[in-house]
């Protein structure tokens, strides 16, 4: 109110410039409205089939489960309670929900190891590509990108065929005389991790490459001039320069690994479940929609924390370099 009163007398003192300003403001408003209208169809589709439904998930996590799937419209925190705890049917004793905790733990553990392995393999690979000459660089990059854009299910299926008991990995190991009988790789945690590494490795290589491509090798030379060993140069010069790429790649591998559904289902064989499978089960055999909803929000919360960590780090490094 006070602002409006103060602005009014000022406007009557200098009419010409105020009209111009008002016209400009009106044009700005028109332009803004036009731009919003142009974006509207995309926003509406996303609201209807991506973002809006997420709100419903939050609501469902606070409802009572229906007898045959679905929900009853009655407020309840049972779902959230059973994410973490189980109540004994007879004695009402509350204990930690072991099944959920072990699956949650496995998801975090496997995603973490996948990320570390992806870094171990992806870092040298990205470095190799970044140090090729311009022409062959494009080809190597293309070779990394192709698997990334091919169907995830097909790639998982390909891994399955390679590591099954009669697959080539076991055949080669047997041929070399390293093992007598096939070792069971398929349907183990290790198989799930291998599969995740296989499908998400390009997501590590690409951001790493993007930051390595811009390395100023005069800095590396300076390092050698100061009697650094190769390891020191890698550790003290190259690694700090590409740290944003390392963080971006790690987040890009960790997040989809955590929410993986297809890979653990195919390579884990129904026993080595991850969070994604646990969520899906609540809508299938489990028939506990509110629990499924609560677990989905848990997963999303972990992802958001990882993303926030990334954004915070990215802005920190930018500030330091800028």
């Amino acid at each position: 109110m006070a602002e409006g009163k103060a602005a009014h007398p000022a406007a009557s003192h200098r009419p010409a410039s105020t009209f111009a300003a008002q016209a400009a403001a009106a044009a700005d408003r028109r332009e803004t409205r036009g731009r919003w209208l142009l974006s509207a169809p995309a926003l509406l589709i996303l609201l209807f089939a991506a973002i809006g439904p997420l709100v419903i998930v939050v609501i469902y996590s606070f409802l009572k489960k229906g007898g045959y799937g679905g929900v009853e419209w009655e407020f309840s925190t049972d779902a959230w309670f059973s994410v973490v705890f189980t109540k004994d049917i007879f004695s009402d004793a509350v204990t930690l929900a072991d099944a959920h905790m072990s699956i949650l733990w496995r998801s975090v553990k496997l995603s973490f190891f996948t990320t570390v392995m992806a870094l171990v393999f992806g870092f040298p690979t990205a470095y190799f590509i970044a140090t090729r000459n311009e022409k062959s660089r494009d080809l190597w990059l293309f070779l990394i990108t192709i698997p990334f854009w091919t169907n995830l299910l097909i790639r998982t299926f390909a891994v399955m065929e390679v590591i099954r008991n009669e697959g080539i990995v076991n055949s080669i190991l047997q041929g070399l005389g390293l093992i007598d009988a096939p070792i069971q790789i398929l349907f183990t945690d290790f198989a799930v991790m291998m599969g995740l590494l296989y499908v998400y490795l390009p997501l590590m290589v690409l951001p790493l490459y993007a930051s390595m491509e811009r390395i100023d090798f005069r800095l590396v030379e300076a390092g050698y001039d100061l009697y650094a060993t190769r390891w020191h140069v890698l550790r003290r010069v190259i690694f700090p320069l590409v740290k944003p790429g390392v963080i971006a790649g790690s987040i890009l591998v960790f997040i989809p690994s955590l929410g993986a559904y297809v890979t653990p289902r195919v390579l884990g064989g129904g026993r080595n479940l991850m969070l994604g499978n646990l969520i899906e089960m609540q809508f299938g055999q489990g028939r506990n929609w509110p629990l499924g909803a609560a677990l989905s929000i848990t997963l999303m919360a972990i992802v958001m924390i990882a993303l926030l960590f990334y954004v915070k780090n990215a802005s920190n490094t930018e500030a330091r370099h800028g």
């Binding site: 919003w36 040298p124 070779l143 390909a158 390679v162 559904y261 999303m300």
Partner: protein, 280 residues
């Protein structure tokens, strides 16, 4: 000659003329292992699609039989047509709305809500697919109960939605590299805004639009998780059909279907790459 050789006791061997500052010991080997790891399973998969026997592990000679049996399989035919229909619809619609949104959100000074629109459009990239899938399952189940409609519409709209960011990003990237001078010139020459768009902006933007559309098409074609959760009975797409088949004993027919799928993806990605390259 021997006397001329300089004595540099303090200089390690690595300072020789052949010294490459870019080299890191073992990195090339690991990179090669990496590429081998990426391609060996895919190549094995393709190789066994030509197996004459019924095993995906024991080679019994070359044959096209599994391609023929996949081609004749009615379920595969249905699923393929459904996949292509959904992908084509999702690609076209998402590309059109993404182009509009990209035009609205680039080459402008910040306006109220710009950041909001960015966040909104990129949102599907940040939420795990399984969560989006579950959310759609819940929401569409409610609509199904309310309206009784169980058609393909749910899959069409779901695919369109998650394809939008993939179509949006290449188009936006292309727009950001285009300055406004040509459009201003057209306006100076009394072109109407529509004419300017039709004859100046659109031709310049076209490679970006094509790239975005292609990406959206591939993303829709590849989707398993959201489709698996959203589909009603008898609405299998090729990936969900394959996921179902993996529970049974797998024959090389699966390899044959996968190989064709791979070939389509690789062709699309190659075109996408070439389109993006022209820009620079």
């Amino acid at each position: 000659m021997a006397e001329a050789a300089p004595v540099k006791p303090t200089t390690p061997k690595k300072w020789g003329r052949g010294f490459d500052v870019r080299k890191q010991t073992g990195f090339t080997t690991i990179a090669m292992i990496c590429f081998l790891m990426l391609y060996a399973p895919i190549l094995t998969l393709v190789a066994y699609s030509f197996n004459a026997g019924t095993s995906v592990a024991i080679w019994e000679g070359f044959s096209w039989r599994w391609y023929e049996s996949a081609w004749a399989n009615v379920q595969v035919q249905d699923a393929s047509i459904r996949s292509l229909t959904i992908a084509a619809f999702a690609a076209v619609v998402s590309t059109v709305v993404a182009t509009m949104a990209a035009l609205a959100t680039t080459r402008t000074k910040p306006f109220p809500g710009l950041t909001f629109i960015y966040a909104f459009i990129n949102q599907p990239l940040m939420v795990p697919e399984i969560v989006t899938g579950v959310a759609l399952l819940i929401f569409f189940a409610a609509i199904k109960v309310a309206t009784g409609y169980t058609g393909l519409g749910y899959l069409l709209i779901a695919h369109t939605a998650f394809c939008i960011p993939f179509a949006y990003l290449p188009i936006r990237a292309r727009l950001e590299n285009m300055d406004l001078s040509l459009e201003r010139a057209a306006a100076d020459l009394y072109a109407t805004p529509f004419k300017t768009f039709r004859h100046v902006t659109l031709p310049l933007l076209w490679p970006g639009i094509l790239a975005g559309g292609m990406l959206a098409f591939v993303i829709s074609l590849d989707d398993v998780v959201i489709t698996e959760l959203v589909k009603s009975g008898g609405q299998d797409t090729l990936p969900t059909y394959m996921l179902g088949q993996l529970r049974r004993i797998v024959t090389p027919e699966m390899n044959a279907i996968s190989s064709v799928f791979l070939a389509i993806s690789i062709v699309m990605v190659t075109i996408f790459f070439l389109l993006n390259r022209k820009k620079t």
